[in-house]
């Protein structure tokens, strides 16, 4: 990587030190073992095939916080760059641009401790969403956490500030769900935060003596491993209907049964986005709902792809028949109502909801009264079904005004022939969005679906220039919409170049740099992060940054606030 020091390969002494920490069987420098750590997950086609991703020089599997701290100290002593990873949902958090680093695979750190009475759970780095809910839901408790897939680390996903389906009533903000945190700093010191300051077994509270430094963990966006390793986190749990949710069905059609008297899915079709927005607003005022999702049209066709035919064949057989008029004229709101306190609560919420739906002309659709993809599965892999790859051009927390502007921008883009030649045609749909904090905040995702094979230079189907156009859409065109609307993307450092956009967002990279320098003087904690995307765009996709975007950033940076004339 340009401008970045590349260290020597891992010295033999350092390997011996690592072996003495975790044991011989949990350290490897073998090329075969290391080859398996080039990075999968979201954005693999961009990260891996562009040449960003490299195999590490060594892999180590610690089991305890103490081992992690000793490994990190060893890395500092020998100036070995290290990259931590828990469940590997993001290709981008992984190895990149260099082949001299140590990969700290945290999968052995998979323990959890549940305090039912005080309603919190302490999780190690590798405990995933489904595992956590497997334990908590047996006890009538639910986490209010980001859901990036059932197999995704709860802790790591919280550090990225991911969004969750269950956050509608409580809060989107990850740090408000945390209690005590155990953190190994980039230099290998163990910090215990929150109530752990007073008692190392007290995980109950986020605040401790002195200032709350848990913001170091991410701020509005994650560090991509550049700021040490969080090894344990305690997160709050909330009561939900007390019955256990029993599984049933086979793997392409599995689900959990919902208690009929406590939970109910209702799908409603509206004829315009405006009616959906008004419904969301009134639901928030009335204080009803548990999961509230504005569902894109093609999700229905993904959900209907069940059977033994290949999913792509099933999906396209169904989606291929949908007309633009049909898709754009049908806006579906999918709502889960939960009577957390009683059956009467569910009945009350349903009555209120149906009143609102009636007022805005909604039509109730059939809904299966089971849950397939919220409590355990959080089935983000469904998103790969249509084309084998999907790209989140941007995701963010925003006002309804931003959601609207982003949707309009997206719909304009999707009518361009170049876009339609490269990506799945969404047929006039609006991006997926959700309401949070009872309508105080909205969250949306702009998606673009290229054919995975066409994005792959190693495939006969490779389409020349497609990765460049994909990146131009993500970085410059979606980026322009985001910047102009004042959207604060929590993926800023993951799918867009931080430094490029930073001037439009109060130059927050200066703040990041100061912390990084202070806490990681040897620059060994995932070096390159949180600016790896900047480097990738600069070196591999320079044409992704258009002059128009640069002008927009300059204009917005000049104020007023985020270019919002109303502010």
């Amino acid at each position: 990587m340009k401008g970045q020091e590349v260290y020597e390969d891992i010295p033999e002494d350092a390997c011996l030190a690592l072996e003495s920490i975790v044991g011989l069987e949990y350290v490897s420098t073998d090329p075969v073992i290391c080859a398996a750590y080039v990075g999968r997950g979201f954005d693999r086609e961009i990260v891996h095939f562009s040449g960003v991703s490299r195999a590490p020089a060594a892999v180590v599997l610690p089991e305890t916080t103490d081992e992690v701290a000793r490994i990190v100290k060893t890395c500092n002593r020998y100036k070995i760059p290290f990259i931590p990873m828990s469940t590997y949902g993001m290709a981008f958090g992984g190895p990149n641009f260099r082949d001299d680093f140590l990969f700290i695979d945290l999968k052995r750190m998979n323990k959890m401790w549940l305090d039912e009475k005080n309603m919190y759970v302490v999780l190690e780095s590798a405990v995933n969403f489904a595992q956590m809910h497997g334990e908590t839901l047996k006890r009538g408790l639910i986490g209010c956490l980001p859901g990036g897939g059932g197999g995704v680390s709860v802790l790591a996903n919280s550090l990225v500030n991911g969004m969750g389906l269950f956050n509608y009533r409580i809060t989107y903000a990850s740090q408000r769900r945390w209690n005590g945190i155990e953190w190994v700093s980039p230099e290998g010191e163990i910090y215990r935060m929150g109530s752990l300051v007073e008692d190392e077994d007290s995980w109950y509270w986020q605040d401790g003596l002195g200032p709350n430094v848990s913001g170091l963990m991410h701020g509005i966006t994650g560090w991509g491993g550049a700021m040490g390793i969080v090894t344990k986190m305690s997160t709050k749990l909330y009561p939900i209907a007390s019955e256990n949710l029993e599984p049933e069905g086979i793997s392409y059609d599995s689900c959990v049964k919902l208690p009929e008297d406590r939970m109910k899915w209702i799908n409603v079709a509206f004829s315009s986005e405006e009616d959906v927005e008004k419904t969301l607003g009134e639901m928030a005022k009335a204080g009803i709902g548990f999961v509230v999702n504005r569902v894109p049209g093609l999700w229905r066709d993904i959900a209907k792809s069940r059977g033994n035919l290949a999913y792509r064949n099933m999906f396209w057989k169904s989606w291929g028949k949908r007309t633009r008029e049909e898709v754009s004229g049908r806006r579906v709101l999918r709502v889960l109502l939960v009577g957390r306190a009683s059956k009467a609560q569910l009945e009350y919420e349903e009555r209120v909801f149906m009143d609102i739906v009636g007022k805005y002309g909604g039509r109730v659709l059939e809904a299966r009264q089971v849950d397939e993809a919220s409590f355990f599965a959080v089935n983000s892999l469904d998103m790969w079904q249509p084309t084998g790859m999907f790209g989140d051009c941007d995701v963010g927390m925003e006002s309804l005004r931003c959601v609207r502007a982003m949707g309009e921008g997206w719909r304009t883009k999707e009518t361009e022939q170049e876009y339609l030649d490269d990506f799945l045609d969404p047929k006039g749909d609006t991006p997926w969005y959700m309401s949070y904090n009872m309508g105080r905040l909205y969250y949306s995702e702009l998606h673009a679906w290229p054919d995975a094979a066409q994005m792959d230079p190693g495939d006969v189907a490779y389409k020349e220039g497609l990765p460049d156009r994909f990146m131009r859409w993500r970085v410059s065109e979606a980026g322009k919409i985001v910047t102009e609307t004042g959207n604060q993307s929590f993926f800023q450092s993951i799918v867009t170049p931080t430094r490029l956009f930073s001037p439009a967002f109060q130059n927050y990279d200066l703040w990041l740099d100061r912390f990084k320098k202070e806490f990681d003087p040897n620059d060994v904690s995932a070096p390159g992060q949180p600016y790896i995307y900047d480097k990738m765009v600069e070196e591999i996709f320079p044409q992704a940054v258009t002059d128009e975007l640069k002008e927009t950033v300059t204009k917005v940076a000049a104020g007023p606030w985020n270019g919002n004339p109303e502010s």
Binding site: Y26, S28, D30, P31, V32, I33, A35, A36, R40, G41, F42, R44, E45, H48, V59, L61, T87, Y88, G89, N110, N128, Q131, H133, G134, K138, G149, G150, G151, V152, P247, G249, I250, S251, Y252, S254, C255, V256, N308, L309, A310, R312, N313, W316, F376, A377, L381, D382, G388, M389, L424, D451, A452, A453, D456, G458, D459, V460, A461, Y462, K463
Partner: protein, 427 residues
């Protein structure tokens, strides 16, 4: 821009797309998310859980295959051989790869083993004695073939000519004769005339799954000829390994569809389930036992019929002609459970991981021979899971599984093959 020509089979080149685009590192580590009930018993991959390093899981193997096909890794690596062969080839990752996706992970792993043998770095040295036994003596134990029919009880008289051929398999013929004897009693009780092969050969399961394709083809060709000579309409098995090998692997190796074999392939549980419903089997004897059932991989997720496919992967990944996938969810899951439920006194309880999510006992595909400690660990994990159901006994439908579970130390459960329980319950 071109469509990609593909053919299902054992050429590793056909799985380049699968190796490069399988999206998620962790997805194939876990059972179906809706069935997860905590950290314990949430894993679906024995070698991945045992070893820890991603190379031992299928996502890591995808990376390794990608590196091999690109020439960035050398086939001669001893570590590569260990990674490839420390794997019971249980098909569990394949179920994950087809949960919401269209990936052929099991075929990729089988093709990888074939490639390893072609490149001279497979099978493992520990696999050679068994291979030699099968080639020289016709059974995996190197015993005399003349001993093969010693299991037959005197009171049971097979027919010299019948529509049903009972293929006994090496283990039930020579080692665990309780299973063969029980199976024969079930057939007799149902009043179904059956014949035996005069000099029944080994099915070659071990040889195929260790990647020795040339030898496996020879065995498959010869064995099919022998079966065809019997003119059997149905071949019935008590061994899940033999059952799957002849139902799935023979056609795969020889370019046929299962339905083109010229005979029906049935596991004895499929037939017994029907016979019970038809009243042909009278399960008069109660068995007072709390039982949990262990799905053999070869009877469950790996046993769906083989259907050759050749065609194009077109834009968006659409297959032309359209392809049906062997998802691992349509195997033989219910017949054994139906049988157990039909026996008076039996209380059937499920483990957390069951049906297509079942945990493999880790002993197949040469693992027991080359990596006995790992194999024993996988089986002990299964028994630990079984014990937590409160069951007194664990039942399976494969002599290989029974052997694996019985040989595990610290086992406080009774271990039976389903034919033993069924035979006891028959009046």
């Amino acid at each position: 821009m071109a469509d990609e020509k593909l053919e299902l089979g054992l050429d590793l080149e056909n799985y380049r797309y699968d190796a490069r685009h399988y999206p998620a590192q962790g997805h194939a580590r876990w059972i179906d998310y809706n069935y997860i009930r905590g950290v314990d018993f949430s894993s679906r991959c024995p070698p991945w859980q045992y070893e820890g390093f991603d190379a031992y899981g299928v996502a890591g193997k995808c990376d390794i295959v990608d590196h091999l096909l690109s020439g960035n890794l050398d086939y001669s690596s001893p570590t590569l051989r260990e990674v490839v062969y420390k794997d019971p080839m249980c098909g569990s990752c394949d179920v994950a790869g087809k949960r919401d996706l269209d990936f052929e992970l099991q075929l990729m792993l089988e093709a990888l083993r074939v490639r390893m043998v072609e490149k001279g770095n497979g099978p493992m040295p520990e696999h050679l004695p068994v291979t030699e036994n099968i080639e020289k003596t016709g059974n995996r134990f190197g015993r005399k073939q003349s001993e093969r029919s010693n299991w037959l009880p005197k009171d049971i008289k097979p027919s010299t000519k019948a529509d049903v051929l009972y293929f006994v398999g090496c283990r039930a013929s020579l080692n665990d004769t309780k299973i063969s004897q029980s199976s024969a009693r079930v057939l007799a009780a149902a009043d179904v005339p059956f014949m035996l092969m005069e000099n029944e050969p080994c099915c070659g399961h071990f040889i195929y799954l260790t990647g020795q394709l040339t030898k496996a083809k020879k065995i498959a060709t010869e064995n099919l000829k022998l079966i065809w000579q019997t003119e059997a309409k149905t071949v019935v098995f008590n061994c899940a390994e033999c059952y799957k090998t002849i139902k799935v692997d023979y056609p795969k190796i020889l370019g046929l569809a299962t339905e083109e074999l010229g005979f029906e392939v049935k596991h004895i549980t499929e037939l017994a389930d029907v016979w019970i419903k038809e009243g042909k089997l009278n399960l008069a004897n109660p068995i007072d036992l709390k039982i949990t059932y262990h799905d053999p991989c070869n009877l469950g997720r790996l046993s769906e019929p083989w259907q050759p496919w050749k065609g194009l992967r077109k834009q968006w990944g659409i297959f032309d002609p359209p392809r049906t996938l062997r998802r691992g969810v349509n195997g033989v899951y219910e017949p054994p459970r139906n049988i157990l439920r039909a026996i008076r006194g039996v209380k059937l309880v499920e483990m957390i991981r069951h049906h297509e999510n079942a945990w493999c006992d880790g002993n197949d595909a040469g693992v027991n021979e080359a990596f006995p400690e790992f194999a024993a660990w996988a089986a002990s994990e299964r028994l630990r899971e079984a014990s937590l159901t409160g069951a007194e006994a664990i039942i399976s439908c494969c002599p290989g599984c029974k052997e694996a579970l019985l040989n595990t130390s610290q086992n406080n459960l009774q271990v039976y093959d389903i034919t033993e329980v069924l035979a006891k319950s028959i009046a």
